[in-house]
């Protein structure tokens, strides 16, 4: 045996350039819309311009006669075969769930719903012909706002009899994790502090950069579906479950996917209709949405009314929190739409020790596009509420907002800590992250400047915003999901194939869309197996290659999928060890595996794991009774969530004359556990921050009174540009997660969850002395200006 040079440099923790970039940066990529197949036809959708209507007639004759048209499809044509957009998470056993057909048959419940589709030679001809389909609608009264939906005056689905699909409650008294919140509030009203607020989580649009696209090839033994999705495995399962096509006859491929942020965590009408169309015409069919279609018909995010009651002692120790939500699910209960507000239930108490807690969400249907997961999904809403409330409490007590947090948070000696909501946080160190953030931020100096500006009556005021957040990542332990009535498990699968040439294929069930799995997974396996980073290929997003997987969402890929990779790699080592002992004629107990090589302790004898892979190929010299393979597979079910946390500090300048806000400084110190690739982590943090900041300052989906989306293009739905962002300063403290081998916690959503309240707290802090304690998001110059104007007139008795 030749000795293999030991690899000692660790890949984990190294800022490796991403493998993905070679193709992405040079334009040599495989987006779904790039796919061209022989004889491929194109699909265009006819969408409802009405928010609520009955479809009484569809005249397709003119469209059928149009140039290049191969077929015109209506809901009635495919009613029996089209499948259904499923709800995977009925949050209560009595949840009211309206049937959600991909193509409407007779009832339209929101603008943009598909009532017909055109199959034509080119996409342009299909779109032209779509204009010729004459649909007769009988318009119905529409309910758009969640609060208005509650009293059932106007029903989004008249046949359902109510707009409320479910009311879900978590009560610390009921589950034994705390006292009765109403008692705490009553007590505080007598001899303490009660903060009661209404906050609004505006509706947002995920607005991934790649419009969704689906190609279906029905020719051949299997139907192959390429789709721009976060969830190829879930899509395959639900197609089989709702269309009756055997799962084994469906192959779903998510090739390069251009962003998702939860927005592609859905099985969409467009996917089902493209499949139905391809099966009908028996040719490959492609559908690629336009941006305006994407903004109205890909699911939306957030949209909650939050009524919050916080009880505290006079000195600011929180004794109870009551959360009453009204969550707008839109026209249907989407894939996990009803569960998104529920996910917040464990997070409103955040990093704090509360005596009592009750969370209730009323999930309502409206005649608006359906709402589902958007980066953070339930946790940003919760974090926003509690971090805003802690600032209000600090004002009521008359102390610094950092002090009130410190007074209430779990100290690092107290882990593991079971919260009032019933979660057990395994690790964390809020003191360390906060101390470091304060230092980098220059907290005290900025407070001095803030006071100076106030004293000088400077038209530009300065505010400081704080957000000490935590979140639950790594979705999820299957038994927990089961207890919540979720329709799937939370495990993840990985396999490792040791190729005879010494190269390694890693197959993962998580399906990335920008997170850099190919790089990070290579780093993990490189360290675990001692194989060079460059020799590792990560395969994903194809159900024929990675047959088992639950895909990418909820910051789960690394924490759950990465652990599965670790376990598969460890199995490879275990299997190889048996062979190494045989080849080296040594006892397994005498072997040590270091840097990719099994060595006999105390000798220079050894064999590399790559050589064993080659030996498996020939199997000429293999131990008796042992299968000739060192490949391995692992399926991992997490034992707990992971709980990243961090302290974010934001300084905002507010021009009190125009209402314009300018970010001056933003510092975050996040504890996300062990970092695999700092380059990727920084990208996730910064990208997340900007999405959260965008909620605070710029983004909102706006409808007119008829339910038409006014912000239906990138001209009107204003994503931030590079000139709108500053250089955020990001650092990390580390308290490794105790529940997975690598100690990772997840980072995909942290920035988004933390930054929104930090920004709003800062703006409110800048103008609080004018008598303002809240401004509705997004904090446009006009809203800030109005708040200042209204506060001023209230103070002087002027009428506006």
């Amino acid at each position: 045996m030749t000795a293999v040079a030991e690899r000692t440099a660790l890949e984990i923790g190294a800022p490796r350039k991403r493998k993905e970039d070679q193709r992405l940066i040079t334009g040599r990529t495989r987006w779904t819309d790039n796919i061209q197949l022989p004889g491929m036809l194109h699909l265009a959708m006819v969408r409802s311009p009405f928010a609520h209507a009955n479809v009484t007639a569809i005249d397709t004759e003119a469209a059928k006669q149009a140039e290049g048209v191969v077929a015109v499809i209506t809901g009635a044509d495919i009613a029996a075969t089209q499948g259904a957009c499923a709800n995977a998470w009925p949050v209560t056993t009595d949840q009211k769930t309206p049937a959600h057909l991909p193509m409407v048959v007779d009832h339209v419940a929101c603008t943009g719903e598909i009532v017909a589709a055109i199959v034509a030679r080119t996409a342009a001809l299909a779109r032209d012909a779509a204009e010729l389909v004459d649909v007769t609608y009988e318009e119905l009264p529409a309910v758009l706002d969640a609060k208005e939906a509650v009293d059932d005056t106007v029903l989004a689905h008249p046949d359902l009899g109510t707009n409320t699909t479910a009311v879900w409650t978590l009560d610390s008294a009921g589950q034994g994790t705390g006292g009765h919140v109403d008692d705490a509030i009553a007590e505080a009203r007598v001899d303490g502090i009660v903060i009661e607020r209404d906050y609004r989580q505006q509706r947002l649009i995920p607005a991934f950069m790649e419009p969704r696209s689906t190609v279906v090839d029905p020719t051949g033994e299997q139907i192959t579906i390429w789709s721009s999705t976060q969830v190829p495995h879930i899509l395959r399962f639900l197609i089989a479950a709702t269309t009756g096509i055997p799962e084994s006859k469906v192959r779903v491929i998510a090739p390069d996917v251009g962003g998702g942020f939860g927005g592609k965590l859905q099985t969409t009408p467009e996917e089902f209709i493209t499949l139905a169309a391809a099966r009908q015409v028996r040719k490959p069919v492609k559908y690629t949405e336009t941006r305006s279609e994407s903004l109205v018909s890909a699911h939306h995010g957030r949209d909650q009314y939050q009524h919050l009651t916080l009880a505290a002692t006079k000195d600011g120790t929180v004794t109870g929190l009551k959360v009453e939500l009204i969550a707008n699910l839109g026209a249907y209960v989407a894939l996990v739409g009803g569960g998104v507000p529920v996910l917040g239930a464990w997070m409103f108490n955040s990093i704090y020790k509360f005596g009592s807690y009750r969370f209730t969400t009323r999930n309502v249907l409206t005649n608006t596009p359906w709402v589902d997961a958007y980066r953070g999904a339930g946790r940003p809403e919760a974090t926003y509420a509690i971090e805003r409330l802690m600032d209000e409490l600090a004002v009521a007590v008359g102390v610094d907002p950092l002090a009130i947090r410190e007074q209430n948070w779990i100290t690092h000696e107290e882990f593991p800590f079971t919260t009032v909501a019933g979660m057990t946080y395994d690790s964390g160190n809020y003191e360390a992250a906060t101390a470091r953030a304060k230092e980098i931020f220059g907290y005290d100096a900025l407070r001095v400047e803030q006071k100076r500006r106030r004293d000088d009556l400077d038209p530009v005021q300065l505010g400081i915003g704080i957000s000490t957040f935590t979140e639950m990542c790594g979705l999820a332990p299957s038994r927990v999901l089961g207890s919540l009535n979720y329709g799937a498990g939370g495990w993840e699968n990985a396999a490792i194939r040791m190729l005879p040439t010494g190269k390694v294929e890693v197959i993962t069930g998580t399906s990335p869309h920008g997170q850099g799995h190919e790089t990070a997974w290579s780093q993990i396996v490189a360290d675990r197996l001692g194989i060079p980073f460059e020799d590792i290929e990560v395969l994903h997003g194809d159900t024929a290659v990675s047959s088992r997987g639950l895909d990418t969402y909820g910051s789960r890929s690394l924490v759950v999928g990465g652990e599965a990779v670790v376990r598969a790699a460890d199995k490879v080592v275990e299997k190889a060890k048996v062979v190494a002992a045989h080849l080296l004629e040594a006892s397994e107990a005498d072997l040590e595996f270091v840097g990719g090589r099994f060595g006999v302790k105390g000798t220079d004898k050894g064999v590399g794991i790559a050589e064993i892979a080659t030996a498996a190929f020939t199997s000429h010299n293999w131990p008796e009774g042992v299968e000739p393979s060192i490949d391995a597979e692992a399926t991992y079910d997490p034992v707990n969530f992971s709980f990243p946390h961090g302290t974010h500090l934001c300084a905002m300048e507010v021009d009190t004359e125009t209402g314009a806000t300018t970010m001056r400084k933003y510092v975050c110190v996040d504890d996300i556990g062990q970092i695999i690739n700092p380059l990727i982590v920084e990208g996730q943090v910064h990208g997340g921050l900007v999405q959260g900041i965008a909620q605070a300052l710029w983004e909102e989906a706006v409808f007119d009174d008829n339910g038409t989306l006014v912000t239906g293009s990138f001209v009107d739905y204003t994503l931030p540009t590079s000139a709108d962002t500053i250089n955020y300063e990001s650092e990390h403290t580390t308290s490794p997660s105790t529940t997975n081998t690598l100690g990772t916690k997840g980072v995909g959503e942290a920035g988004t969850i933390a930054s929104t309240p930090a920004v709003v707290n800062a703006v409110v802090d800048a103008v609080r002395h004018l008598g303002i304690n809240d401004i509705r998001m997004p904090l446009s110059p006009e809203r800030v200006w109005r708040a200042i104007r209204d506060a001023g007139s209230a103070a002087t008795g002027d009428t506006p």
């Binding site: 940066i25 334009g27 950069m209 941006r291 380059l679 990138f714």
Partner: protein, 486 residues
């Protein structure tokens, strides 16, 4: 006539058989160059950015990033295009691609080739100079320029949803200078692609690009319903979003008579087919009011394509140039086969998207009379700092002599069906001392001008208030200390 031919990444491609309403983006993608993509089809996202060889300022060539989704492929006839695929390969990354990789500038990668092209064009900008003695602290505060002279506005037309832009900015600011043997830098030293006359016919219509104004006017006279295409930012949106297919389009973007800029004794004449980027560069701050306007006009990517004539030609009430040009008392030079006539911009707009322009008439130039007023400002309220439609825009041009406002010209956009002059406010200022009291009184008048509307961008009340605040800010910034006290 030969079929139009475009040099893409160094090799020639023909447009034979391509419909004239085909965008450059669709044509490139049909050739397998799928790095550029359709992210929005209206010039907002920049996923379609490519680099084209355009005339430089000194006889050379300048790489210019444009939105491929907005231009007819035929308009690139005789031109040279470079895409992300042509800049580098996985084995041999371009310096811009290398920096993007090492800084983590790409996540999902969908927008990345567009960023690469916008960034590469800025990398090759001939007047990009490292900041000489950048004070470390000052530099940190100027987020919009790198120590290498990189202007972040060159990326303002590219959207990224993944990175938060920090890694992209880091990559941009880390770029060095092109190597001596860099082929793209070398290309800049040679003459730009020659102007060729183009005719492209297809099932949906005809695109014709003449090489002289006379030929263009003859064509327009013969086809008065023709769509004039210059920067084609409007054409592209019509084609992509509204499915328009112009039966007859006349390309006027490269007519030499429309591409001059002359600074005379009494007037500055700006050719209508100059892009806003070219005007910004050539004026180089000579007209401060326009210098304040340009950075707020859409994005650099759009300004690289959009022409000033096109912006006025559409007659939009919310175009960004009219408020500034009204304050400058600009005059529009209209040309037809009957000759030329001058129309003051204030008389040019007649209604919503309507102007005095007659069939067969095109805008040849815009004249700005000299001398310029000494006190100017441009103020725009939008949801986003840059690259956004204005809710309301105002241009101020005041002459203040011996503390007295001798002359006031104020242009307003977004407060009526057409851009208007704030005549009552002008009257309230003229002859008055430039004092806080006068500014306050005039601001009250300004708030009454026009009838702004309510929409999701801003309420009428806010638009109105903003106008007044803009005037007060102008006073606060320009008044001498004793005037402030007065």
């Amino acid at each position: 006539m030969l079929a139009p031919t475009i040099t893409v990444n160094g090799s020639a491609g023909t447009l034979s058989g391509v419909d004239p309403s085909t965008t450059a983006l669709d044509w490139l993608r049909s050739r397998g160059l799928t790095g550029a993509k359709e992210g929005c089809a209206e010039g907002e996202c920049g996923a379609c950015s490519i680099m084209v060889a355009r005339p430089g300022d000194d006889g050379g060539t300048r790489w210019t990033a444009i939105n491929a989704c907005l231009v007819p492929a035929a308009s690139l006839d005789g031109g040279e295009v470079v895409t992300a695929e042509g800049l580098g390969s996985p084995q041999s990354l371009h310096p811009v691609q290398h920096e993007m990789a090492v800084r983590g500038g790409s996540q999902c990668g969908y927008c990345t080739p567009g960023f690469i092209c916008s960034m590469a064009a800025e990398y090759y900008r001939p007047d990009r100079m490292p900041v000489a003695s950048a004070d470390e602290h000052d530099h940190e505060l100027d987020h919009e320029h790198g120590p290498n002279g990189f202007d972040l506005h060159s990326l303002s037309g590219n959207l990224c949803r993944c990175t938060g832009y920090r890694p992209i900015r880091d990559a941009a600011y880390a770029l060095g200078e092109p190597d001596a043997d860099d082929p793209f830098a070398g290309r800049c030293l040679a003459a730009p692609p020659a102007l060729t006359s183009t005719r492209q016919e297809g099932p949906t219509g005809v695109y014709v690009r003449p090489t002289s104004l006379a030929a263009a006017l003859d064509l327009y006279a013969a086809h008065p319903q023709a769509v004039l295409v210059a920067g084609s930012t409007d054409w592209g949106v019509e084609v992509n979003i509204r499915g328009a297919r112009a039966p007859f389009a006349i390309g006027i973007d490269r007519l030499p008579e429309l591409r001059t800029l002359d600074v005379g004794e009494d007037v500055i004449e700006i050719g209508a087919a100059l892009t806003l980027s070219e005007i910004e560069r050539r004026l180089d701050g000579r007209v401060p009011l326009l210098a304040k306007l340009f950075p707020q006009f859409a994005s650099r990517l759009i300004r690289n394509g959009a022409t000033i004539g096109g912006n006025l030609g559409t007659g939009s009430p919310i175009g960004d140039t009219p408020p500034a040009l009204l304050a400058l008392e600009a005059v529009i030079v209209l040309a037809s086969t009957d000759g030329e006539r001058d129309v003051p911009l204030a008389d040019y707009f007649t209604g919503y998207r309507q102007t005095v322009k007659q069939p067969g008439e095109l805008i040849r130039a815009i004249r700005v009379p000299l001398p310029l007023s000494g006190t100017t400002a441009f103020h725009k309220i939008a949801k986003r700092r840059f690259d956004d439609i204005s809710s309301v825009a105002v241009g101020f041009a005041l002459d203040v002599a011996d503390g007295i406002v001798s002359r006031a010209r104020i242009g307003l956009g977004g407060v009526a069906a057409t851009p208007i002059r704030a005549l009552a406010t002008e009257a309230a200022l003229e002859g008055q001392p430039w004092t806080a009291d006068v500014a306050r009184a005039a601001a009250a008048v300004l708030r009454q001008e026009g009838t702004p509307m309510d929409d999701h961008r801003a309420s009428a009340a806010y638009r109105t208030a903003t106008l007044g605040t803009a005037l007060l800010k102008l006073h606060a910034e320009t008044a001498t200390p004793q005037e402030v006290g007065a």
